[in-house]
Amino acid sequence: MTDATLVTNGSADTTADTMAASPQGGRRHRRRYSQLSRADKVWLSLMVGIPTVIHIMFVWVPTLGTVALSFTKWDGIKLGSWEAVGFKNYWAIFTIFDPKFFPALFNNLILLVFLGGCSTVGILFAYLLDKGVRGSAIYQSVFYLPVVLSLAVVGFIWKSVMFSQSQGLFNLGRDKPIDFVGNSERLFTFHIPFLDSPLGLTKNFAALLVAMAWRHIGYVMVLYLAGLKSVDPSLREAASIDGCNEWQSFRRVVFPVMKPINVVVLVITVIEALRAFDIIVALKEPVGTTVLGVLVKKNLTGEGGGQVGLGSAYGVILLLLCLGFIIWYLFNNYRESES
């Protein structure tokens, strides 16, 4: 297990520092793990108990609440005024709101594939920056810059500075400006047998993907860079002595060693693709760019906000998609750590 050794190497340095600093830590005792005292047990219970209660109470209880609400009709105003309707909201999504639901789901799917590609670019950036480029810190900061910007800012930048038909950079010098934000024409379409309308990638969603890439690549780059820092340089040297070229050494040595980070990046990519809604809302949800997260938000929090049942049902669908992935990931992650 190369990666285990690496990590111990890394932490051994810091451990040594601290041991020098704290006198009691300096002596090494290899005794049996002693039984905890009563007071310690109490403290430990509190340490586990307080965060757990807060987390369950304010994250999981409301989640279950949403699941319950998805089977009701409720205007969201008075507690108890809900009315059980069974699966009616879900039925409505698949029969009445199918022209909204399926394109939104499809956009999520496109986003998933696209952000996957962006992650690769982020990895490439990280890889190049990790190889001792001069001014690496500056490049890092530049690529990371979009991540620290708030969405209101990102929305403004792309809408007014880049995409605007009258003054946007992408439309400079064009006689016929392109409507990047509003054009919901599809670049390609295909028919799904049981759907009324075809699915496809709209032009404005494609434009929006550019803005998303701008943010996502920097995020992945930083995570990956953090991982690469822990790859033992001697490994790569060994690879290059063995006659591996750049690609081979990355493919055969670095990438496999980076498995834990790869998984983290994968999870972040998938979850971001499923949960995305804020950048679209920041651009005022142009038609054709709807994703599931937007449908949830609009039905639950919009003016009137009267369709809590329907909004919750959208939410539960989103939840199931996310949970499916979360469970796969956690299973993968903890099975390894337990072994």
Partner: protein
């Protein structure tokens, strides 16, 4: 809901009222009463006689039972006020209006868009008095019991005619709203452009199409067009529907009583599709400010929008050059006597902390002084109060009042005449899809009809 309450204010009443000047005196009596009550200088519950020493007050029959009798607000008791006037200038204007009431008011300003988006959440813990819009949008919350009955405040409001009163009335016949100002939607243009090119203001469809065609030949975009945020083109729908099918059908359609797949509705969309080629391309990705700039820069000849279009510029020469006309008739049998003129105003929380103060504030805001103070700073709208001082009106305001006064029926605006979540979840996308590709009209309309029941049912 009864038919009656769904009507927006009646015609001529809404507009100007130079001939109702006598009410001015009554109004000053009201606000004086409010002022005295607020100061609390007089412990006996100020009857209106003490508050209205000026004799002309008797001229107004409504000057009985004003604020003084209902709300002797104790001194210093703060009233909280939820404001969505977040822009710099309107913010100063609303502050001036509040100051004119002389009450101790704490203003809570949140930005206009999130105030609107979050109104349901906001109403879980509202301020005593809050800004809102008239029409279905107000009734929706009245029906849910989220806002307070202010019928007794209305007993003291003498300066609004019946049409404003009905626009402020909930489905239960009680009043929930104090109107403040309104602004009509009309076709804006630059006088200089029309003069240079010899254009005439069109009064019917043939003239409109001829004018638009001529503008295109002259290298102008006939109509500037924008739809960022998905509400601007709803104005186009409103006016074309009212011109094609009349006011009553329009209101019934929005209330869910008529079908979106009806031939009459389709006729509206056919007319819209016919006029669409005269509009600026790709409206969906353009803000109304950009479209207004196209008008200002003489790239476009006309722009159909609310009179707030003027707020996009500070160039006085342009503002002097700006004028508007009523959207021409499309069908002579229907005429051109209906239009959108949304009213903005105030509501009271269902259970305000300071009930008396809230009512005193609403009375004060319903007075001529308040709207005069407001319009002195932000002059893009027209006072709802018939006692307001119209002498300081600029051209646009005077003409707005005239236009609305001449109209026979006044609608609020699409998102105020029907359920707001129906608009934000269904109509917004549907209309945006239509202007992007009018050939899809049939599937778009059947989609609206299908989804309507979820929100209006």
């Amino acid at each position: 809901m009864s038919d009656q309450t769904e009507h927006s204010p009646h015609p001529r009443d809404v507009g100007f009222s130079i001939n109702r000047r006598q009410m001015l005196a009554g109004a000053s009596a009201l606000s004086l009463a409010a002022f005295l009550a607020a100061c609390g200088s007089d412990e006996k519950s100020a009857p209106d006689t003490t508050a209205a020493p000026t004799t002309t007050a008797a001229a107004s029959p409504d000057s009985t039972a004003p604020v003084g009798s209902t709300a002797p607000a104790p001194s210093g008791d703060t009233v909280t006020f939820g404001s969505n006037y977040s822009d710099d200038k309107p913010k100063q204007a609303i502050q001036a209006a509040i100051d004119s009431t002389g009450l101790n008011v704490k203003v809570n300003t949140t930005d206009h868009n999130s105030f609107q988006d979050n109104i349901t959440n906001y109403l879980a813990q509202p301020d005593d008095v809050l800004c809102w819009f008239s029409g279905y949008r107000m009734r929706f919350f009245a029906d849910k019991g989220l806002i307070g009955d202010i019928s007794d405040v209305w007993d003291g409001l003498g300066d609004f005619n019946d049409s404003f009163k009905s626009a402020s009335t909930g489905n239960d016949g009680k009043q929930y709203f104090v109107p403040f100002y309104y602004y009509p939607w009309a076709v804006h243009y630059r006088k200089s452009v029309f003069a240079d090119k010899g254009y005439e203001v069109p009064t019917n469809k043939a003239e409109l199409v001829a004018l638009a065609t001529k503008m295109q030949a002259d290298g102008l975009i006939p109509f500037a067009y924008a739809n960022d945020g998905k509400w601007p083109v709803q104005g186009t729908f409103d006016i074309i529907n009212m011109r094609t099918n009349g006011y009553q059908y329009h209101i019934d359609l929005l209330a869910g009583k008529e079908s979106w797949t009806d031939d009459r509705t389709k006729a509206t969309f056919a007319a819209w599709a016919e006029l669409l080629p005269f509009h600026q391309e790709n409206p969906n990705g353009r803000t109304w400010q950009e479209a207004a700039t196209a008008l200002e820069n003489k790239e476009a000849g006309m722009y159909f929008l609310g009179t707030f279009v003027a707020t996009n510029s500070t160039d006085q020469a342009y503002l002097d050059d700006l004028d508007f006309f009523n959207f021409p008739e499309l069908d002579s049998a229907v005429g051109a006597d209906a239009l959108d003129a949304p009213i903005d105003g105030f509501m009271m929380a269902a259970d305000p902390k300071n009930l008396e103060g809230a009512k005193a504030l609403l009375s004060g805001l319903g007075s001529a002084e308040a709207i005069d103070a407001f319009l002195a700073i932000e002059g893009a709208s027209v006072a709802a109060s018939s006692a307001a001082d119209t002498s300081g009106y600029n051209k646009i305001q005077a003409k707005s009042a005239e236009l609305v006064g001449a109209a026979k029926n006044i609608a609020q605006f699409l998102d105020r005449d029907t359920s707001p979540d129906f608009v934000s979840n269904v109509i917004g996308d549907a209309f945006a899809s239509f202007v992007a590709d009018p050939s899809q009209v049939d599937s778009i309309l059947s989609g609206i009809e299908e989804q309507k029941s979820t929100y209006l049912g």
